[in-house]
């Protein structure tokens, strides 16, 4: 079982400290979720782990080995918030380029229906759903998902949760979203990003105590 560890993450935007001494580990075979208010640094943390941005300091390790730019290793895939694939591509072309598991993906009705339609001709929710599926079933040991449930219809969110669970049998999944009930349902472990630090959450009550939910 592989292990992804993130240590000593410090990140600031100008004088505004966003992340302070963050430590987190994700095992292959588990789903780790984290929550946080708007602008608290959730996406930033995922991007630092992915290696697309750098903070004042960070250490990302795979099985104890330090990796400077994780995305170059191909071991980690990332779903950004703002759309992943060029609009003129079709899901089939994206699957081919990402070398994703097409046999598995084409068992999903939406994948069959939209396989040869450009992303530009789909609704935002369907695009997000299909992008998430392709990232989940692409090669790699770890998957980072930034708001996979946003804009997605509840019926598709209900379908996405078991799919994330299925993928987590063989990969480590780290995800964040504002739909905290879905995050609670899918996660084996949960954290709250608050005051620049990650705090473990065991009970929903703790989210209320720490002011994340009312």
């Amino acid at each position: 079982m592989s292990l992804l560890e993130i240590d000593s993450v410090n990140f600031s935007y100008g004088n505004n400290k966003i992340l302070s001494n963050i430590y987190l580990k994700v095992n292959q075979g588990e789903v780790v979720g984290f929550l946080g208010r708007n602008g608290c640094g959730k996406s930033t943390l995922l991007k630092v782990i992915f290696g697309s941005i750098s903070g004042e300091s960070q250490s990302v390790r795979f099985d104890g080995q330090y990796i400077q730019t994780p995305f170059k290793t191909g071991k980690v895939k990332f779903l950004p918030q703002d759309g992943l694939f060029p609009q003129f591509l079709t899901p089939n072309q994206a699957i081919e380029l990402y070398e994703a598991d097409s046999v598995r993906l084409l068992k999903e009705p939406e994948m069959i229906e939209y396989a040869d339609r450009p992303f530009s001709e789909m609704s935002g929710g369907i695009v997000k759903f299909i992008e998430t599926l392709i990232v989940l079933f692409s090669p790699g040991q770890f998957v980072l998902l930034d708001e996979p449930f946003s804009y997605v219809a509840p019926v598709l969110v209900d379908r996405l949760i078991p799919l994330i669970k299925e993928v987590s049998q063989t990969k480590g999944v780290l995800l964040t979203d504002h739909q905290y009930r879905s995050i609670l349902e899918v996660s084996d472990r949960l954290y709250l990003l608050r005051n620049q630090s990650l705090r473990p959450v065991k009970k929903v009550q703790e989210l209320q105590d720490m002011g994340y939910i009312g």
Partner: protein, 101 residues
């Protein structure tokens, strides 16, 4: 083959810039000859910098498509510059010969 497809996707992002500047250069080179080469070079450099800044400001999120494929920002810049320069040279060299320079 996969790499060629990725390059073609990358090229689509600056095809307008590439074609406009390359054919403007063709026109200059054909009529003004070799003396226009330094100007063409600097127009290309400045044009590419402006294009890069515009892309970075407006389409930065698109980089994640390439990052997931293992390509860094440096690699993308290198491929873009190579494609742009390669296409320009393919047009400019025969133009230079045709113009009798």
């Amino acid at each position: 083959m996969r790499f060629a497809k990725i390059l073609s996707i990358l090229y689509r992002d600056f095809i307008v810039y590439n074609l406009v500047f390359t054919f403007a250069g063709f026109w200059y080179l054909f009529f003004y000859g070799r003396m226009s080469l330094p100007y063409l070079f600097w127009i290309k450099v400045v044009g590419f910098l402006v294009l890069g800044l515009w892309y970075y400001q407006t389409r930065r999120h698109r980089f994640y498509f390439y990052y997931n494929l293992g390509y860094s920002l440096k690699a993308l810049i290198l491929y873009s510059v190579s494609l742009d320069s390669g296409i320009a040279l393919l047009i400019y060299i025969p133009t230079n010969v045709l113009a009798g320079n």
